[in-house]
């Protein structure tokens, strides 16, 4: 068990949705780890980019904060 503090985490409905979100925000190459097919860990700034990119397209993910 490892504790990672201050990272960005995305959990999508499925792998395809996750890949789409990462691609839209152009952060696919900066993913720190994929812990499951539909779960990605990113730096916080990159997670914020994903939120911004999705919101610009009118898609509103559930932002846990």
């Amino acid at each position: 068990m490892k504790f990672h503090q201050h990272v960005g985490v995305i959990e999508a409905e499925n792998e395809q949705a996750l890949v789409e979100a990462l691609t839209i925000a152009r952060v696919q190459a900066r993913v720190l780890a994929k812990l499951a097919p539909n779960v990605a860990v990113l730096e916080r700034e990159d997670a914020a980019l994903v939120i911004d990119a999705l919101q610009k397209l009118g898609l509103h993910p559930k932002v846990m904060q």
Binding site: M1, H4, E11, A33, V41, A48, H60, K62, M64, Q65
Partner: protein, 569 residues
């Protein structure tokens, strides 16, 4: 029935709605905060316009009410500055979640103890020019400090509450002047030549400080009148009548809230009623976009604030139920359908922009390994793959709830280098010390040899450099390694990533001079320049193909013979 219960424009509930209007304006505008720590003028105008009885800008007093409520909101942590913007703080949900009587007590205590609010700066009749110079050493001011201001508020309040009937304000001022003339400022040395003026306090528009002789009513009196007219009246201690300049205490019974909301098919929510409750309105405002303009309280149902509310821990069903509960009529079908759809669609993608991630390694079952108390306190929820995630807690909370002998890797900082370069291109990276950044790097640039050993891979590095700047890649490698790579391997890595263009080794035609003087003369020959590809150094040029033969022939024409070797002469 009490006075406050009869007239909903009086008492704390009415004042709190002004406070709430300010909060709504902040939610709607998210104003930028200037260097002086205050929002811009446009915000003040908008917030003032949303008040029940706005200040008149033309009177030149500024926006006293907005400043007053703003100071209290900051004191209660209902509003706070986040990255140069004024936003609602964590105290907002806490404050508006309290029952009415407790909210009132908290607000009143916040006012009485508020250190940041300089009451004298808010009194319309007074000016404090000294405020601008308080940073300098030689500036002297009689304006009371935070402790004295707090004590002064309590003294005036006690005296005012002691008046049981309708009392002229003039009488309260006289009473305080007789009973406790020094309640705000020391007057024991008023006869001394050193204490002629109220230093740093002027009447508005005045050119000199107010004289102490005969100035009590103009300074302390004005302060008392302001206290009664704004804080004591709006916080529901007293009822102030500006027409007759009288006041009388209120008994605190403000009656039950009575209002309803109307949800319209165009997603507008209107709050109507003569006794609106700020606690309930906050719940509506927390998942809608308040329209701060105008007196009618209007909220727009939109997807973003709705999903944001879900992200902060509320459930879609509870929010729909709240609207249905406050609305006398059933919700329009299209609205209910959209809210359900927004709730369902937001569940398809969850993002924790600043998270604590508890990663399960191998076949670990975190549900059984993590104590339930710690899971609850940290707010951890399970995600796919058996891992747990929570909104990043404070460092102290995290320390308290971590299992024994565990530490958290903090990604807001640079992490320790954990990859050890071995002989050749081998890298030693023990799984138990690897953090996510190191793992990402290894996946990018190396192939796995065994559990803890990796091998730098030229193809992977080249591929990685297509999606990342080569210098950024090198920086990451240098940060992750416990010691620098051997020079040959560093050279190789920078070559694979494309940071270094391929070098050349082979035959070439060059022109070498004996010394600088010879080189200078050669450069003056136009025929020579025509054959030069580029200068390599002092007296050394790379020639274009065929240049050597051509120049040899040219110089022979001048009787100059060139040597056939590159050895030093």
């Amino acid at each position: 029935m009490t006075r406050a219960a009869i007239d909903p424009r009086k008492g704390y509930r009415a004042g709190e709605l002004d406070f709430f209007s300010l909060v709504e304006t902040v939610i709607a505008k998210a104003p930028r905060v200037l260097k002086n720590g205050l929002p811009n003028l446009a915000f003040f105008r908008a917030a003032n316009a949303a008040l029940a009885q706005p200040d008149n800008e033309d009177e030149g007093h500024g926006y006293t009410q907005v400043e007053f409520w703003l100071a209290l909101a900051r004191e209660l942590d209902v509003l706070r500055i986040v990255q140069d913007r004024l936003e609602t703080g964590p105290g907002a949900a806490q404050f508006f979640g309290l029952p009415f009587v407790q909210r009132r007590e908290r607000m009143r205590e916040a006012f009485l103890d508020c250190r940041a609010m300089n009451d004298f700066a808010l009194v319309p009749e007074l000016e404090l020019p000294g405020l601008k110079k308080l940073g300098t050493v030689d500036s002297l001011s009689d304006v009371p400090g935070p402790e004295a201001r707090s004590a002064a508020r309590r003294t005036v309040l006690q005296t005012a509450l002691g008046c049981l009937e309708e009392t002229p304000l003039r009488k309260l001022v006289q009473l305080l002047q007789t009973q406790s003339p020094g309640f705000a400022m020391d007057h024991s040395e008023d006869t001394s030549w050193r204490k002629v003026h109220y230093r740093g306090i002027r009447e508005r528009g005045g050119r000199e400080d107010v004289e102490r002789q005969g100035g009590w009513d103009r300074v302390e009196g004005a302060y008392i009148r302001w206290l009664v007219a704004l804080p004591f009246h709006r916080l529901g201690w007293l009822d102030h009548n500006p027409a007759t300049q009288t006041f009388e205490p209120l008994d605190g019974d403000e009656g039950e809230p009575s209002f309803e909301i109307i949800v319209q098919p165009n997603f507008e929510v209107l709050a109507l009623g003569d006794r609106l409750d700020a606690g309930q309105l906050w719940r509506v405002a927390s998942f809608t976009r308040p329209q701060a303009e105008g007196r009618v309280r209007k909220y727009m149902l939109e997807k973003k604030p709705f999903t944001d509310a879900l992200g902060s821990g509320q459930s879609a069903a509870a929010l729909v139920a709240l609207l249905a509960e406050l609305s006398r009529k059933p919700l329009p079908q299209n609205v209910r359908f959209s809210l359900d759809d927004w709730g369902a669609s937001s569940e398809r993608m969850k993002i924790w922009p600043d998270a604590l991630l508890v990663e399960a390694e191998g076949v670990e079952d975190l549900a059984s390994l993590l104590p339930e108390v710690a899971r609850e306190k940290l707010g951890l929820t399970k995600v796919s793959g058996g891992h747990f995630v929570a909104i990043a807690p404070d460092a102290a909370d995290l320390r308290q709830n971590l299992p024994p002998r565990r530490t958290a890797l903090d990604y807001s900082r640079r992490l320790a280098p954990v990859i050890v370069p071995q002989q050749g291109l081998r890298l030693h990276a023990p799984a138990e010390v690897l953090h996510l950044r190191a793992r990402q790097l290894l996946e990018l640039i190396a192939s796995r040899q065994s559990a803890d050993y990796w091998l730098l891979d030229a193809k992977l590095v080249t591929a990685a450099s297509r999606s990342m700047d080569p210098e950024e890649l090198r920086r990451r490698v240098e940060e992750a390694l416990t010691r620098p790579l051997e020079p040959a391997h560093a050279l190789a890595l920078r070559g694979w990533s494309g940071e270094f263009a391929p070098a050349y080794a082979g035959t070439a035609e060059v022109f070498l001079c004996h010394n600088d003087a010879q080189a200078e003369l050669m450069e003056t020959l136009p025929e020579f320049a025509a054959w030069v590809d580029r200068k390599l150094g002092r007296g050394c040029w790379l020639l274009r193909q065929g240049g050597a033969a051509h120049l040899r022939k040219l110089l022979q024409g001048y009787g100059i013979k060139l040597r056939d070797h590159t050895r030093r002469t």
